[in-house]
């Protein structure tokens, strides 16, 4: 035992490990922790698949129409991404912040970047995982069909769409307590999803709702994904709208992280 001590505080270059090494480390442990609570993973996969099964598959007008089916799958796939990002980050981060381990991890020699990267990669893995049952149901039970390029394009859209909602999730997670965060995530997720045309296609909206909807990040994300997967031209506003929301959510996330000092006592 004592033989090891002289090396203890040996003089060495006081440097932190590389950003990438730390990001990989945090990614590994984020995934490990997620996988250890399988119900969180399963619950996340379930809702979009059930929605597809109950609301799309029984409607012949949609389910037997190849393009309409693809659009419906794209919408629910987008919803799966939104939901995974907001829940794993919004609720997950705020829950972690209430554990005594979180302030401890903040004392380790790593900045915010690698930890956030770990969380974001974890969320994106969740988002991709959530596509699997949706796509399986679509292939087996609907007439959905698209070209391999469009299918891959749709998968490639997952991390793109995930970015703004990841940032929104982080902003909520770092700004609020766990109880508040879960309520806020739900209050944000479902109205945004509905008004963004993720449950009902926007073609079914009254014109005022359609106009309002165009300004929402959920609608912009949905339009982009539908364009990529079906090839049908959509609104030219989708990309600028999504980028503007991304910038806003990024600013909020950074602000919330900077202000956070762990639990607050008054």
């Amino acid at each position: 035992m004592t033989a090891a001590t002289p090396s203890a505080p040996a003089t060495r270059a006081a440097g932190t490990r590389s950003w990438l090494a730390l990001a990989l480390l945090h990614t590994r442990f984020q995934l490990l922790e997620s996988v250890r609570v399988p119900i969180a993973v399963i619950g996340n996969l379930l809702f979009p698949s059930l929605a597809l099964l109950f609301f799309v598959v029984p409607q012949p007008a949609v389910a037997e129409h190849p393009l309409a089916s693809v659009a419906a799958v794209a919408q629910l796939g987008t919803f799966a991404v939104m939901s995974a990002c907001l829940f794993t980050l919004g609720a997950g981060v705020s829950e972690d912040r209430q554990l005594a381990f979180d302030p401890y991890v903040r004392t380790l020699p790593a900045g915010a970047g690698p930890r956030l990267a770990g969380r974001v990669v974890n969320a994106i893995v969740f988002c991709l995982g959530a596509q699997v049952p949706v796509v399986l149901i679509a292939v087996l039970l609907t007439a959905a069909s698209t070209s391999p390029a469009r299918f891959l394009g749709g998968i490639a859209m997952v991390p793109v769409v995930a970015v703004p909602f990841t940032l929104l999730g982080l902003a909520i997670g770092y700004a609020m307590s766990a109880k508040a965060a879960i309520a806020v995530v739900q209050a944000v997720l479902f109205p945004l999803a509905f008004a963004g045309g993720l449950f009902l296609p926007p073609e079914a909206f009254p014109s005022w709702l359609d106009a309002l909807s165009q300004a929402l990040p959920s609608r912009a994300a949905r339009d982009l994904v539908v364009q990529v997967t079906t090839g049908i031209e959509g609104s030219a506003w989708a990309l600028p709208v999504l980028l503007a929301w991304t910038a806003l959510f990024a600013a909020l996330a950074v602000l919330a992280y900077r202000r956070d000092e762990g639990r607050r006592f008054r």
């Binding site: 505080p9 730390l22 302030p103 006592f265």
Partner: protein
Amino acid sequence: MTAPVVELDRVTRRYGEVVALDDVSLSVGEGELVGLLGPNGAGKSTLLSLVNGVRRPDAGTVRLMGRDPREPAARAGLGTTPQETGLPATLRVGEVVDLVAGHYADPMPRGEVLERFGLGDLARRQTGGLSGGQRRRLAVALSLVGRPRVVLLDEPTTGLDVDARHTLWDALRDYQSGGATVIVTSHYLEEIEALARRVVVVGSGRVLADDDLPAVLAMAAARRVLVEVPESEEARLHALPGVLDVRREGRRTVLLAPDADAVVRALVRDDVPFRDLEVRGASLEEAFLALTSGTPGAPAASGAPGAAPTPATTDGEPR
């Protein structure tokens, strides 16, 4: 002495209306073993959270190895303990060690860390399944994983039985002997005696005393002598030999003195008309408030309901 490894310069930190640290300055050099002693709520944990970069001061500056502790590079040579209740329950003991080790350039091998703290056969156990004492040991082990030059230990052995406490102290002393700087907080005097050479007493957000261990131990041995005397006689109490402080608490007067027997003898010898005599141990806070404040008015007010339990002398091991 070389440049200080931890330095606080006129630091103030508030939580809303509450002032947790009030204009505190403290400098700790390489290799020092410093005990931060004080009751709960004195500001010890706030002080550590400023040094470890979790919180930032409202006023003043904090330096760790000459840098702002909020920079990750400043913390490359820092080791701290999580609260044992907060370990991630689903991760295994070995995994938590790996997670922490992964942050440092030259960490101790996992086996060595676990061995030092008697956790060798628990590496595959999830932390949620550990006993309180095992968690406490793991928490302290984590502070040493990165071979830090500066170790901050917040109440390292609270809640442990005597044997476990001694095992942990041995492991910490073993590490200290390699030349690390250690700052340990405790409200147990015995723990401070075991791990520190220099003692900083904190109370109500201020540094009340900062001296070497024997000097502080002598101060901490003070006793409270309570008597009821007519108001006209009170002036005589100040003149008694060995009395450090005189203060009114309700109908009684409290004398603070290192030797209570001498005070009682003097009371009798001088024929002071006292009644309702009582002698109690003084809490450290009371002892230091009396010693460091010339005016027993203002700061004493917060510690005045002194009938409250006296953490250091009653909860701790009798000395």
